[in-house]
């Protein structure tokens, strides 16, 4: 099994100059297959289709999280409405300012273990799959890999696999990034 066999072909993506408002709306309504179920992360491509970053739900959370919070334990001293008021302030920020720039990608012919290796070592939950020219052709989600593992574990019990597998297919990928 290779990355290209498991990936979801590229359907939706963001531009670096999209606003966060546009971005969260697309994250909320992005297509997965035929249905608009939303996703937890999207690739950011420039006008030439080149991958310049990834924007995940975690990046959106970071956008409303003041960086001084990282320096001390101040969570106990925040107030109601703080997140909402910052969210309104950052709504017009550009995706380019918030996205994760250092993105780990895999080629379509990468082995499944290579993908697992990247996901664990880089602590990412989705990998853009690129062709020879570096163009993004699809996305490999943690759940896709998980499904492949599930299949291997339950192969001898194919009836069980059918029920569980169809359930997984409709579920969003878990976790962040």
């Amino acid at each position: 099994m290779k990355a290209k066999d498991l990936m979801t072909p590229l359907q939706e993506y963001l531009r670096p100059d999209n606003t966060l408002k546009d971005a969260v709306n697309l994250l909320r309504t992005a297509k997965r297959g035929e249905e608009r179920v939303g996703v937890k992360g999207l690739p950011v491509l420039d006008e030439n289709g080149k991958l310049v970053g990834m924007l995940s739900m975690r990046d959106i959370l970071k956008a409303v999280w003041p960086s001084y919070m990282s320096l001390m334990d101040l969570g106990d001293f925040t107030w109601d409405g703080m997140v909402e008021s910052i969210a309104k302030k950052v709504a017009d920020k550009k995706v380019a300012m918030v996205m994760t720039r250092d993105v780990m990608t895999v080629r379509g012919d990468a082995s499944l273990m290579e993908c697992v290796d990247h996901m664990i070592k880089k602590n990412v939950k989705r990998l853009p799959v690129v062709d020879k020219t570096g163009k993004v052709v699809g996305m490999l989600y943690e759940r896709d890999v998980f499904f492949a593992i599930t299949k291997a574990m339950l192969e001898e019990n194919s009836s069980m696999l059918k029920v569980e597998g169809s359930k997984f297919n409709n579920k969003e990928d878990e976790g962040e990034k």
Binding site: P66, Y68, M69, L71, M72, L74, F77, M82
Partner: protein
């Protein structure tokens, strides 16, 4: 000409070693000022050159007080960092900051003034960068809660930490270095510098009220956000907090008594760090020790060796003769030149390499003035003492002049930039330079009045 003047008292020759050491010293300082390469790397490389080119023998660099690394400074810094690193997770600093904001009853100007005093007081006992790192995040949170501009809080925090740090032996690295070189104890600093810093802080609080008071207004309902904060929630580890406070109290008592007990300050601090590490029951000292600011420590070690090299070849002695020529041996004039020159020098270059150079220069100057004296009689000569205090006041307070004058300023400006509240070099100077001049003027009056008029 000057060469001959030097040979009159103690001969030294401007030979290859002299020029090699001087070149290393000047190049190292030039690169440090240019900030093209990290200062620690330059210091360590320069030190390596001094050794490999045989300007200094390794034994001199590692084991001689006259030319080598001042281990008293190194271990005092490391030990205090370890103590603070162990205390930080207890939440005591968050507690203190939130408590201060509540003392201010949510009034932005009162909070600004209280934070200034708290920052100055903390800085007197902790290193300035640590203090700023502990206070700034809370001040921004408070400014956000009150929906007022965070800029006054940020700038004031840096300025107050530099003023407060001047007050004690352990408050600011220049003082640590001066204390070690001049064999001054903790109580000497309390007796000679703390009074002028208290006076300075009174003026400082009035000054910030004048500068920012008008624009710091908030709504009543926003004040409630501050009053609703429960500082007790900040304490994450009450058991460790108690242990830390006991050890800290012991260390401070030790500092107060170290002169009488004939301990060096580093002995007190090292014992405190060791004891607190033991009491913390950590099985993994790795992370506590890794958090020591090793780049700063290595910067010091490298600098000491570079300075040792130029002391050995006589450059510093030559410079001290120049200073005495300028002031014609008038010690009040010398003391004023030292203070004001130190202030402006420290506003633009790091005060650590500056004081590292000035320390041996002061000793050489004293040797010129009183060639018959040596040891403590020389270092503590009644006419030399005001010069040490002028050096400390100038070098520490001068840091306020510009955004790059002190590490605390660099940290505050860096943090502000990250938070999208950029403080330009000019903007910092607009507030910092007048405050620096005000504080040095106060120090000038103090030194003149205390040591040259009242002679107490």
């Amino acid at each position: 000409m000057t060469h001959e003047a030097a040979t009159a008292s103690q001969p030294f020759v401007m030979d290859t070693a002299f020029w090699t050491a001087t070149t290393i010293f000047l190049l190292a300082y030039a690169v440090i000022v240019s900030e093209k390469i990290h200062k620690t790397i330059i210091a360590v490389f320069g030190a390596g050159l001094m050794l490999v080119l045989k300007i200094l023998e390794q034994r001199e660099a590692f084991h001689l007080e006259e030319f080598g690394i001042d281990w008293n400074v190194i271990f005092l810094l490391i030990s205090m960092m370890v103590i603070i690193n162990l205390m930080r997770p207890t939440g005591v600093f968050e507690y203190l900051a939130i408590k201060s904001a509540k003392w201010g009853k949510g009034d932005p100007m009162r909070i600004l003034a209280i934070f200034a005093v708290v920052t100055a007081t903390l800085s007197a006992f902790l290193d300035n960068v640590t203090t700023v790192l502990l206070i700034v995040p809370v001040t921004i949170l408070i400014a956000d809660a009150l929906e007022v501009d965070a800029l006054p809080y940020l700038i004031s925090c840096a300025l107050a930490s530099n003023i407060g740090g001047t007050a004690t032996l352990i408050g600011d690295p220049p003082n640590i270095m001066i204390a070690s070189k001049a064999q001054l104890n903790f109580m000497d600093f309390i007796y000679h510098l703390t009074p002028v810093i208290i006076i300075t802080m009174v003026f400082y609080v009035f000054a910030i009220k004048l500068i920012w008071g008008k624009n710091l207004k908030t709504k009543e309902e926003l004040k409630k956000r501050i009053m609703a904060m429960n500082e007790n929630e900040a304490i994450k580890d009450p058991v460790m907090l108690k242990k830390s406070l006991v050890v800290l109290a012991m260390v401070l008592t030790g500092f107060v008594l170290h002169g009488m007990l004939h301990f060096q300050p580093a002995t007190i601090a090292l014992f405190g760090a060791g004891l607190l590490l033991l009491l913390s029951k950590t099985h993994e000292p790795h992370h506590v020790l890794a958090e020591v600011e090793w780049p700063t420590i290595f910067f010091f070690m490298g600098l000491f060796i570079i300075i040792g090299g130029v002391v050995k070849v006589g450059l510093i002695k030559w410079m001290s003769i120049q200073v005495l020529n300028i002031t014609q041996g008038n010690l009040f004039a010398t003391s004023m030149v030292v203070m004001w020159f130190s202030a402006f020098a420290s506003a633009f270059i790091d005060n650590i390499p500056y004081v590292a150079t000035m320390n041996p220069l002061m000793v050489d100057m004293a040797k010129q003035l009183w060639p018959d004296l040596s040891g403590i009689q020389l270092l503590h000569h009644v006419d030399l003492m005001p010069l040490w205090w002028s050096l400390a006041l100038g070098a520490c307070l001068g840091g306020n002049g510009t955004a790059i004058g002190a590490s605390a300023n660099v940290i505050v400006v860096g943090m502000s930039e990250k938070l999208g509240k950029r403080i330009s070099f000019g903007k910092f100077m607009l507030y910092g330079m007048p405050i620096m001049i005000m504080t040095v003027v106060i120090s000038t009056v103090y030194v003149w009045l205390r040591y040259y008029v009242l002679k107490i």
